[in-house]
């Protein structure tokens, strides 16, 4: 009994060190905020269309039975520039449905940006005052959500998506269709 008591500090250390080792080896990023959106039904979607003559974006776009990517971006945002080619690739190679929403951006600036870089979006809307983004729990741009065929948010990326993220996105995109 007495001996065990003296072993206690050592055992606590082993447990602590186990957690530290786990943390280091799992490659987790403590700076990522995580998301409360994942696993819930997609938030409200209503935004005027960026393209003249097209109807406004509605929730129906998220409940087509096919997975959808929703990307918040802006023409003034450099990381959005970095992830843009990946969306183009997703659209062309995978036939992914991508909805783009320009956040706190002037529509004409967004249009010029898309005209210059190419437009990978099936539908594009704008959220000039950022009110829609509040419902989506946006912390900035770019952020990307993957919504499955049933309208449930499956993935939420804060910051630009990268090649590495595609390995998570692709199975869900393909699996759902």
């Amino acid at each position: 009994m007495n001996r065990t008591l003296f072993l206690l500090p050592l055992m606590m250390l082993v447990i602590l060190a186990g957690f530290f080792g786990w943390s280091l080896l799992s490659g987790r990023d403590p700076a990522s905020i995580g998301s409360v959106m994942v696993g819930r039904a997609a938030p409200r979607l209503s935004a005027p269309s960026l393209r003249e003559g097209e109807p406004a974006l509605t929730e129906a776009l998220l409940r087509t039975g096919k997975p959808v990517l929703v990307n918040f971006f802006a023409s003034w945002c450099a990381p959005c520039l970095a992830e843009h080619p990946l969306f183009t690739r997703l659209k062309e190679r995978e036939g992914a449905t991508i909805i783009g929403i320009a956040w706190k951006d002037k529509p004409e600036a967004t249009r010029a940006w898309l005209a210059r870089l190419g437009d990978p979006f099936a539908k594009a809307g704008y959220d000039t005052d950022g009110k829609l983004a509040l419902d989506w729990g946006l912390s900035g741009v770019p952020e990307t959500y993957l919504i499955d065929g049933n309208g449930i948010v499956r993935l939420h990326f804060r910051g630009p998506i990268t090649e590495r993220d595609l390995s998570v996105i692709l199975p869900l995109l393909r699996g759902g269709s």
Partner: protein, 653 residues
Amino acid sequence: MIPELGHFALILALAVALVQGTLPFVGAAKGDIRLMALGRSAALTQVLLIALAFLALMQAYVASDFSVANVVANSHSAKPLLYKISGVWGNHEGSMLLWSLILAVFGAAVAVFGNNLPDSLRARVLGVQALIGVGFLAFILFTSNPFERVSPAPVDGNGLNPLLQDPGLAFHPPLLYLGYVGFSVTYAFAIAALLEGRVDAAWARWVRPWTLAAWCFLTCGIALGSWWAYYILGWGGFWFWDPVENASLMPWLAGTALLHSAIVVEKRDALKSWTVLLAVLAFSLSLLGTFLVRSGVLTSVHAFAQDPARGIFILGFLLLVTGGGLALYAWQAPKLSGGGLFQPISREGALILNNLLLCTLAATVLLGTLYPLFLDLLTGNKVSVGPPFFNATFVPICAPLFAALCVGPFLNWKRAELGPALVRLRAAFAVSVIAAIVAAVAVDGRATLAAVAFGFGVWLILGSLVEFAGRVRRGRLRTLPRATVGMTISHAALGVVVLGAVATASWNVELIRTMKPGDSAEFAGFGVKLESIVPGQGPNYIAERATLVLTRNGQPYTTLTPERRLFTVQRRQISETSIHTNLLRDLYATLGEGDADKGWTIRLYWNPLAPWIWLGAGLCALGGFVSLSDRRLRIGAPRGSKGRSRTAVQAAE
């Protein structure tokens, strides 16, 4: 050429440390006096070699030698000289080198001042110290070599993190390391004692000055860090419960507990295994802090090189040092016989209560700091633990600690009466209660808890002074040991810190306003006018400087000139606060974002008693130094006591 010399000196130092970490142990085990004496000369050689390496790196920084990768990454030719020098330890590699240097300095100090130690104990202490040094030197040489060259050498460097370009932070790391590394000596003493299987009053007498020295430096280091956060981050606060701050607070709490429990070992030969455990823990928590700051397992506002690969190395080292120490403890500590018996109400009892509460505080900080990590790993949930948690846990545990702090020194050893002590403290108690009521009614009726905490601050000051006055009245001022004077200073100073912290945190007045030049506002009884915002130019930054004129009753009072600096090399902005203090309150101004169209965000704080936080912390450390100057604790104790302590050791065998 000089960087290579430094590198070479570092390799030699590793070799010397290996020798120092092995042969003296053999000598101590065999009773070979020559092998034991080797530890002493090795420790002195080691400090020379590491100092040489450190100077070589400093030379590279001062001369802006951009063929050295470390200098390129952290220095710039346009940087002021002070920050070229402080840049040496303002980065991961250099700070590790500083750490090793301080470790070696402490080792050398044991070698030089430890003449009165038994030979085998000294040999073992130096051996343990050297083994820790081996770990750090290997870490530097194999994973973070500060002398690495780049070819071709760039024209100029990237510059030091602008937040670190500040006189407060130039000296914060060295002081902090003096504290952290100082605990390595107590750790070495604890391990040596466990190896010898003997802890006695003489051992405690040797350990106490080292603990005290480390504790004083750590106190200064933490205070300086908090002061820096106060005036450079521009948020008006002084403590943010950030993981990096917590990392330095935990060893401080454990060290404070050790400081007190070592007294019991020294005076009463009790609490031995507990004290040894604390000595191991104080250094382990220092290492844990290093690990948390550098591995990137937690996020923090403080910028430091974070690298999981290094994290693995430090974790391994932490496991070796702490695990080795605790395993040895589990094996040997049950054999340490308990000494003097005592009643629960006695000086010993009070010191145990102090230890229990301080360790609970340390555990609370540890839990709060690591909880986000545990939760994230176990459930994937992200939380952040901040001031609400610590206000709800840390602060209430302080209450019994502060309450008992003034009573403890009145109690006798072995057995004491609580009644007489309380009677002598009744005046202090009454004044404290009145102070709390006045604070609650007159200052701010909403913050009742703050008023209670304020009362505790007054209680700490008065209670300590009453105890001191009692000693003086008994006509013992001249013969009063300095350790007692030091204790009174430190205890009362804690009260000063509490008053400052409570007043600043609870009763500050804040004004955030967007202003254009010419705009005026009312603030805490002052009229504030934004006179102008003009561009400025520093050695390595461009600035916007606001001139705020404060008037009181229409009369000019003072001018505050907060700045926002853009460091051109790193493209980083930092705010330079402007503070006007009269030692009773700070007027604190920062300049935020803005332009001529919309105006600039001006933040003003009126922080009552804010200077007392750092004044108190400084006094606290001063108390420690006064106590350290006590001849009974002096490291190179006079010859007379040498003979006595030797006898004591033999008697204990």
